[in-house]
Amino acid sequence: MKLGLAIDLDTCVGCHACAVACKEWNGQSLMGGAPDYDAWGKAPSGTWYNRIRHYELEGDPTYSPHRCGSHADTAGHEPLSKTINVPMSCMHCEEAHCVTVCPTGASYKRAEDGIVLVDPSRCMGCNYCAWACPYGARELDQDAGVMKKCTLCVDRIYDEQLAEADRQPACVLACPTHARHFGDYDDPQSKVSLLAASRGTQSMLDDLGYKPTNAYLSPRKPVEVKTELPLRQGLSDKAKAFVNRLIQL
């Protein structure tokens, strides 16, 4: 098995619910512990397994609002193409360099499902694995002095006490827009494999050779809007063109 997440960059609204749910579940779980530091003070910080960052994309013709009929301003500036919210947690890479650099053997990748975990009883808190991770997935638990990271909720997904629908990572269950999906990438018929194949995925620092398992589904391209009437006009064509002209005003 190759368990991982598929994260939809189109529907993610950047609400941070996945990170909060992650913190809530892993703050107290057996594998976890995600303490906050100075939580009510002037400089609150903490250990998070999942962080959401927000980016602006500009001048990318694939996602250009030109396709929807808007234009560059008088100074020639392209309109803002897109805002993208990117939740990032452990990618559970196939070539997990964080595991190979670990001197103690605390970091390991499970052969059975590919989940990358840290054994807190062996970790000496040298931060070397965090240096080796390009995606910023690992953060030190400063209270326990050991490295912490996304466990893919390994203490949920195999728990037979839970209803089958609940055997998913907490972030996936919490996502209000269903932008997060969990499944087995080794199974070509699984939901995540089908989504990744049909939607296309973003390559994130692939040239480093880590082969991340998690997939970021590319945003859907805007539908091109035509304001000219087609040659053979039906009533619906006329109505559409009329509405489109209205919008363009």
């Binding site: 609150p44 990117v86 360099h97 001197p103 103690t104 000496m124």
Partner: protein, 304 residues
């Protein structure tokens, strides 16, 4: 990268100690050329051992969970850090064996332990360099120059320390000659350092590669946290360009040029060693402070 003082001190101090150990052992082989009595040899060995041990102890100071440090010797098949730790600890039984063989006069054993010690010391320096050199996430470190730099700078600072140790000989032996090996290594070190500054890989990855939007401009809108995180503390460190330039000149002068001149024109070998070590500390601080981790791309930096 956050320049952690414990690691900076460790790499410089252990490096100088290992270099001194290598040159001391080689000098003990060349009795025809370098007259060194047993007391001076042991004094030098004690200085080397003190430098190495102080460095190794310092290297454990940045560990957040020191009680598990013993496991750090278990993954020598994959981890350069584990290899370095094991080989560094191997120095102590080897040195004890060598001393025992010297004391009890075992001429069959001493060459074996001597060459093993030299090989081990150089291997430790190489492993220390590879700890940083193997990280693909930090393009500035991920070059063959990094381990070569660690080995060369260690041997270089040790070679400057050797004439200082030799100056401890009893006065009837006479003064120390010009330490040509030290001067040669300082010159080589300078060439390598300048080559590293001019040729090291820089700015290979862009924020577009990081997010997979290869066309158009990508910029950070909001980083999602209000204050520092582990990631910004560890990887967010930036050094002002003017300060870096000043420190680079200090490193070039103190680590290479001044010791070279002191070794050639004067007999102030202790001062030369001290200045060289200070220069290397500055160089090592810059090595960490100027290294940029690719995770900075996700925090909005355009190129790393």
């Amino acid at each position: 990268m956050n320049p952690a003082l414990s690691v900076i001190f460790f790499t410089v101090s252990s490096g100088a100690g290992l270099g001194l150990l290598v040159w001391l052992l080689i000098a003990s082989l060349m009795a025809d050329h370098i007259r060194m009595d047993a007391t001076t040899f042991y004094k030098g060995a004690a200085i080397a051992a003190a430098l190495i041990t102080a460095g190794l102890i310092s290297s454990t100071l940045h560990l957040a969970n020191r009680k598990n440090a013993i496991y750090a010797l278990t993954r020598i098949r994959t981890s350069w850090l584990a290899r370095e730790g094991l080989l560094a600890l191997l120095l102590y039984p080897l040195a004890a064996l060598h001393l025992y063989a010297l004391q009890s006069g075992l001429p069959q054993v001493t060459p074996v332990t001597l060459w093993l010690l030299i090989a081990d010391a150089i291997a430790v320096l190489y492993c220390t360099g590879m700890i940083y050199g193997c990280l693909r996430t930090i393009p500035r470190w991920n070059t063959w120059m990094t381990p070569v730099k660690y080995v060369l700078f260690g041997l270089m600072s040790g070679a400057v320390l050797l004439p200082a140790v030799l100056s401890l000989r009893p006065p009837e032996v006479g003064p120390v000659g010009k330490p040509m090996v030290a001067i040669l290594l300082l010159a080589l070190g300078l060439v390598l350092y300048l080559a590293y500054l001019l040729k090291h890989p820089r700015k290979q990855h862009t924020i577009n590669d990081a997010l997979g939007f290869l066309q158009g401009n990508v910029r950070l809108l909001d980083v999602g946290h209000s204050h520092g995180t582990f990631l910004t503390n560890e990887f967010g460190f930036s050094v002002a360009r003017v300060k870096a330039r000043l420190l680079r000149w200090i490193a070039i002068f103190c680590a290479f040029i001044l010791p070279m001149m002191l070794c050639y024109f004067t007999k102030w070998f202790w001062i030369a060693s001290l200045i060289c070590v200070i220069g290397l500390l500055v160089e090592r601080w810059l090595f960490f402070a100027e290294a940029e981790h690719v995770v900075r791309l996700y925090h909005g930096q355009q190129r790393v």
